[in-house]
């Protein structure tokens, strides 16, 4: 049984994808109907009406309430039933589970844990999505694998040398050892490449015609957001000086992972950059490159998942490049243990 961190915020979809028409989403194996009320407030309920168990995502919004589309039971924002067609008395137990939902950074987030543990401070920091000086290309990709395999994949970019040669990979990535840093409950995986050839995507973004310095710093923001801080500057320029802004660039590849169930994960992704902000052609090229890149990963991850299921007792053999992956997995185990403890406390 795979475990999830339940007392946490998960991205549900992009802000502009949500309207008054309810949508069905599966997160951590639970089914939600997500929607906006007439006032535009994001909301989420269990996708199951207490009356006959019909999906609420086939229903409709009435003001600030949601109505089951099968027999018309209507629930307010706290999940209490407000009306039943042809019936005067509303039983107290006619209630549906609601999920706290908020809108931040152009995303809709849902709290999957105990209601009373809800804490807005815990929304993962992905402020580059709507920060001045940055522009963003977005998309989403579905993987037929457990979410932890995708965390591994995004933390260890060694694979880009082999899997993504046409977009972001170069010979030097795999050959450059990583270092890891532990700080403030985060494991940072760092790879610095000096005087290296640029990848195709970096040539396109930076207009480089010679060798570059290139850096990557990656970490997992709980519960399931991977931040890749990466950038480049022509070789021998001063990375930390004023030169950087003029000749180099910075990017953030943000992956808001949504564990759908134990063998499926949705990656809501964004590529933010601080250069060429108004270049629509560049947007299109980045979009294509990232869609291809993640699709290439999806084949490997689906294959890993199948092999894991076929050989449940097979241990993975860790290489030195896996140091960041291994340390992050240990961190996740601790978060899950903390989460279970919190759920236990909530039960008292």
């Amino acid at each position: 049984m795979t475990e999830f961190i339940r007392n946490a915020w998960y991205a549900v979809c992009w802000s502009d994808e949500l309207g008054v028409t309810p949508q069905s989403r599966q997160i951590l194996g639970e089914n939600l109907a997500v929607y906006r009320t007439a006032n535009g407030v994001p909301a989420a309920v269990e996708d199951c009406c207490p009356h006959r168990l019909a999906p609420m995502s086939l229903g409709f919004v009435n003001g600030e309430n949601i109505v089951c589309g099968y027999h018309g039971m209507e629930f307010d924002r706290d999940g209490f039933c407000e009306s039943i067609p042809g019936q005067k008395n509303i039983p107290r137990k006619a209630r549906i589970r609601t999920y706290p939902a908020v809108e931040r950074y152009n995303l809709i987030w849902a709290w999957m844990g105990e209601q009373k543990e809800t804490d807005d401070e815990l929304i993962p920091d992905v402020h580059w999505l709507d920060a001045p000086g940055w522009t963003t290309v977005t998309g989403s990709t579905r993987y037929e694998c457990n979410w932890l395999l995708l965390v591994d994949n995004l933390l260890d970019l060694t694979h880009t040398t082999f899997v993504h040669q046409s977009t972001i990979g170069t010979e030097d990535v795999a050959n450059t050892p990583i270092t890891t840093e532990f700080s403030g409950e985060r494991v940072y995986v760092v790879r610095d490449m000096k005087n290296t050839a640029p990848s195709n995507l970096y040539k396109r973004i930076g207009g480089f015609d010679g060798r570059i310095d290139r850096w990557q710093r990656i970490w997992l923001e709980p519960p399931s957001v991977v931040v890749i801080e990466a950038g480049a500057i022509p070789a021998k320029c001063d990375r930390d000086g004023a030169d950087r802004e003029y000749n180099g660039f910075d990017t953030r590849v943000l992956s808001m992972l949504v564990p759908v169930d134990e063998r499926t994960v949705e990656q809501i992704w964004a590529f933010a950059r601080n250069t060429e902000l108004d270049d629509a052609h560049l947007d299109v090229d980045i979009q294509k490159a990232l869609e291809l890149t993640f699709k290439e990963d999806a084949d490997f991850l689906a294959g890993q998942q199948i092999n894991m299921e076929r050989h449940p007792h097979k241990q993975m053999l860790n290489n030195t490049a896996d140091a960041g992956v291994v340390k992050t997995r240990r961190l996740i185990e601790r978060w899950i243990a903390d989460d279970l403890r919190r759920a236990g406390a909530a039960d008292l």
Copy 2:
């Protein structure tokens, strides 16, 4: 484990759908090969040859016999093997299970229970299908749900207000309380709407331009036929007088439910009316309206089934409009208990 009533007749298909070419059908989780003999007599055998377990539905009819299409074993109407290619002695145990089959009301029916319990008196009464003074539009719809959910759906038309607004639903259906009557081993669910707006379908059939009186009386005919007796007349006309035939009309919506397995049900349906008997345009419009109507239901019922399976211990919350549904479910439980007792007796 869902239970079925086995000692009973189930509709297999419409008469004109069956010829000498065997067809494969699944009923109550059992696989049948159904066909007509050369004389046109409907017949059904287990879809599994005793020789190598090949499907008999891939075979062919030879006179009054059916022949396995794999190695040519031939069985008579009682299931006894009559010939084996290249072999003189026919072992007594070379026999296939047969199912009693009859043709009535333009339908083929199969008896799914103990052979010796077969009783033609138990064929559900749906005489409107070939009665003088009535004309019928027919079709069939498959639902990815247990048959009991479809029984519920057809007994409680409250949902038409929400699900079928474009065809048969109106605001007043959900708002009009039902009554239930118990008589002769049947539960009747009754809803009378006086001085109400006609639905789109009723406008089309009755040519109404004002308000109407509208009535519904629904019951389950064992094992799995739902009869909806419904009609309308302009408001303030005398429903029970001579006026009715001239200004109003009567309909029967007949649903011969075929439980395919525990999570699939086929609805062989007919809409019979006693008005505008020769209006082919009306036939087409009714056909379209009913196909749309049942397809709308199918989405809700598939969703209910998924939710039931995800939450096996979740109880449904009954509203007052569910009185007919609840009482009929209790009746079905008794029929199933009776059926098990009969099966037990047959085993002695």
Copy 3:
């Protein structure tokens, strides 16, 4: 649980289907990556990298080695890891399972058993595939059934009368009793038809305009190759004299069965003939006839498999024509018992 004979050679694919790009194949429920090295040598490894369990079939060949396409681990022909990107020390346990592979008779074969039991003498004799004086039409067909059902099917051609009337079946096949011979660990199923009508395919090959003598001799070559030795000559000619070559012909229908898993089998098939060697039109006609023929079988076998799974305790009823099938099944049981004993010995 179906059993397989593991210490044996299985056909993987035709020689010309294999190049340096690794391919994924499932045999006896195990997943292999098969490929040729730069030198053209056929090779096979477990389709699972010991590092992160990614499929090796998504990797690539480097000289005589195979490289995992995810993070670049490289393995030599014995399965030992030779390099890990960005890492100097290679742990001894970094090793992948290899499968012995050879090329013979235009086929690639893999040994699925204990490495040290590998024995080239055990490659099934299908020398007609590249013997002078013979020409061959080839193909492959997938069946949704256990491999034993396909063995039964190929050993007992009674079914051709019913299933393959348009290609190879005639009335007389089913009506002519078979005999069986046991010799040298093989069961031979023999059917001789004198003065019989030719099938459509035989008319096409032999140009017969009258009655013929026709013979069939069929056996299973372990572990899973079925050889059908068959031919025809105009009736009353001397089958064993010089006439045969001039007026008659011989064929071998060779079925290299690959049990994919317990409910799937791949048939790599060839139709070899010793007549009209250069007739390309005849090749095309034979190809079409055999593809149709095996597709006809596939429907019956899939139906059998479903019935076997639905009725796990149902015994098949054997007819006299099943004598060869029954004796061969007994032989297979002994081979499987021997195989288990060999595996046990290898474990010591």
